[in-house]
């Protein structure tokens, strides 16, 4: 019995030592990389999108979509390599019947496994919901709502060079001033290339309150103080975003004031 335990322990020690040596020698040489994911995601999505269009009675060619993707793992600071459920891909494609939003892309969330396969889910406003109705009136599952794909671990790993701007969004739903009329505005900067920078012009009713500048890293949130105190009788505030880096809401956003 003692001999058995000793042999098992020795074997385990050898395995652990070998594993540690291999890991130390190779570093984080994961086959899951940003270029491979970007290429695979666009190919898979294009094929499935054409399939969806066929279910709707439309004929498209995968190449005519000109799908492009920019993938990012876990925020700006982290290296875009390795498996995980924290991959985000921004993807644009051309379909005359489904125009892209002003920022020019839809955001897909990916769960990538170490075996080079992934599950991707897209934005419903662009890709539709779980089920759809085909030309014969039958309810079928929507091929692009959520889909699986795998890529070649030895595939092309040169960067695709596709870059999309970050999208600034106003996260606050109301403006709540304190006793002095001071208030803050919550904004988020989504995945994208350079983060978000620019200015927001603030107005309360007809009164211009001035502008506030912002400069946020991608995938971060910030609270911007309003440039001046809100007038006592103000019912709503209007924010007009001018982006110098990244994209923002194209029309002014109006929020109610809550006291």
């Amino acid at each position: 019995m003692r001999r058995t335990i000793l042999v098992v322990l020795a074997a385990l020690a050898v395995v652990v030592a070998l594993g540690a040596a291999v890991v130390a020698a190779n570093g984080d040489q994961s086959t899951v990389t940003r270029p491979r994911l970007e290429r695979s995601l666009t190919t898979t999505f294009s094929n499935l999108y054409v399939h969806k269009a066929a279910l709707q009675g439309r004929t498209l060619a995968p190449a005519s979509l000109h799908a492009q993707a920019m993938c990012d793992k876990a925020g700006a600071e982290n290296k875009d390599v390795g498996p995980g459920g924290d991959w985000n891909c921004l993807m644009s494609w051309t379909d005359p019947e489904v125009p892209m939003p002003p920022e020019g892309y839809g955001k897909f969330e990916l769960n990538v496994h170490s075996n080079d396969c992934y599950t991707a889910g897209g934005p419903s406003k662009l890709t539709g919901f779980l089920t759809m109705t085909d030309t014969r009136g039958k309810v079928v599952s929507n091929p692009v709502f959520e889909f699986d794909g795998c890529f070649d671990p030895d595939g092309d790993n040169t960067p695709t060079g596709v870059v999309f701007p970050s999208l600034l969004a106003i996260a606050s739903t109301t403006i709540t001033p304190d006793a002095d009329g001071r208030a803050g505005l919550q904004v988020t900067c989504g995945s994208g290339d350079q983060g978000c920078a620019g200015s927001i012009a603030v107005a309360a009713g007809d009164t211009e309150l001035g502008t506030v500048h912002f400069d946020l890293a991608e995938e971060s949130t910030g609270t911007l103080p309003l440039p001046a105190a809100l007038p006592a009788g103000a019912k709503e505030t209007t924010f007009s975003v001018t982006s110098t880096t990244g994209a923002g809401p194209t029309s002014p956003v109006t929020l109610p004031v809550q006291r």
């Binding site: 058995t4 042999v7 070998l18 594993g19 291999v22 890991v23 020698a25 190779n26 570093g27 984080d28 040489q29 994961s30 086959t31 899951v32 695979s40 190919t43 898979t44 999505f45 294009s46 094929n47 499935l48 399939h51 390795g82 498996p83 995980g84 496994h113 170490s114 075996n115 080079d116 396969c117 599952s141 091929p143 959520e146 889909f147 699986d148 794909g149 795998c150 890529f151 070649d152 671990p153 030895d154 595939g155």
Partner: protein
């Protein structure tokens, strides 16, 4: 010159000598005969034939497809997808278990029954006996895989249907091509399965205990699955015997890729060679006079 031409004639002429020292065929025939008499082996084969049909019927009856596994998304509506879903599941522990049931017992069983002395008094060498047992175990692995694959593919396609399959690059694969790819995918399970056969033989020889020989490869296989799924230690993936079980993914992508299949073949071969060498050395050096 005449000596070299005479040499092969001389060996070919020694058929009476070959009869006194039997080659590989006689022990092989005995091992197969022992295996055919074994209830456990028969039960495994019948299980491999019948259980896939049950699994196919149950999954087909589900209202929600098992989406968290590859091809699970279409498994309730597409027979090819269901056959591949079952393949992914079988590779996790079923295939190592199926081969270990025979390979893990084939040497240790002689210890269990105390029959080493008996089999070695037959005029055969340890080496010949070793290869006969190894070939029997490998042959059983191939047969049980073929039975499981045929049963799974046939029942999936007949019960669920044979619509065109959506591949791993979103491409649509016509039914005939899908059937071929599903069959080839199942066939690519053979190298890693034989790797587990060799591992089971090593454990069987070393532990002299059928329980270790059968359960060991399954546990080792699951540990390898776990390590292979971890992020950060992916550098060890090519060395794991569980990785070749996933190499078939490339066949269902477009463009198709076969790099992982070739790597998997090499990995399985190295595991098998190392396990068999260790097992053979252990068996050769063993003192069997005690019974």
């Amino acid at each position: 010159m005449s000596a070299t031409t005479n040499a092969p004639v001389a060996t070919a002429g020694t058929t009476p000598g070959a009869r006194t020292r039997p080659g590989l065929v006689a022990p092989l025939r005995w091992e197969i005969r022992k295996l055919r008499a074994q209830l456990r082996a028969k039960a495994v084969l019948i299980g491999a034939l019948v259980l896939p049909v049950v699994v196919v019927v149950v999954i087909h009856g589900q209202s929600r497809p098992p989406k968290d596994t590859l091809f699970g998304r279409f498994a309730t509506v597409n027979g090819f997808a269901l056959a591949l879903l079952i393949l992914g599941f079988a590779a996790q522990w079923v295939l190592p278990l199926l081969t270990a049931v025979v390979a893990g017992d084939i040497f240790a069983g002689e210890d269990q029954h105390g029959t080493w002395k008996t089999v070695l008094t037959r005029s055969t060498s340890r080496a010949r006996l070793f290869w006969a047992k190894t070939l029997t175990a490998a042959g059983f692995a191939a047969i049980v895989l073929a039975v499981l694959a045929a049963s799974t593919i046939a029942s999936s396609v007949l019960i669920v249907g044979h619509e065109p399959l959506t591949g791993l690059s979103g491409q649509t694969i016509p039914a005939a091509e899908a059937l071929r790819l599903v069959a080839v995918s199942w066939a690519t399970m053979l190298p890693p399965m034989l790797g587990f056969t060799c591992l089971a033989i090593l454990l069987s020889v070393w532990s002299r205990n059928p329980a270790v020989g059968i359960a060991g490869p399954v546990v080792i296989g699951m540990v390898m699955q776990l390590v292979g799924a971890l992020g950060g230690v992916e550098a060890v993936r090519p060395f794991l015997l569980s990785t070749p079980f996933e190499a078939w993914h490339g066949l269902l992508a477009d463009p198709r890729f076969t790099g992982p299949l070739l790597d998997g073949l090499l990995t399985s071969a190295v595991w098998c060679a190392l396990s068999l060498t260790a097992a053979f050395t252990l068996l050769r050096r063993r003192d069997i006079t005690g019974g």
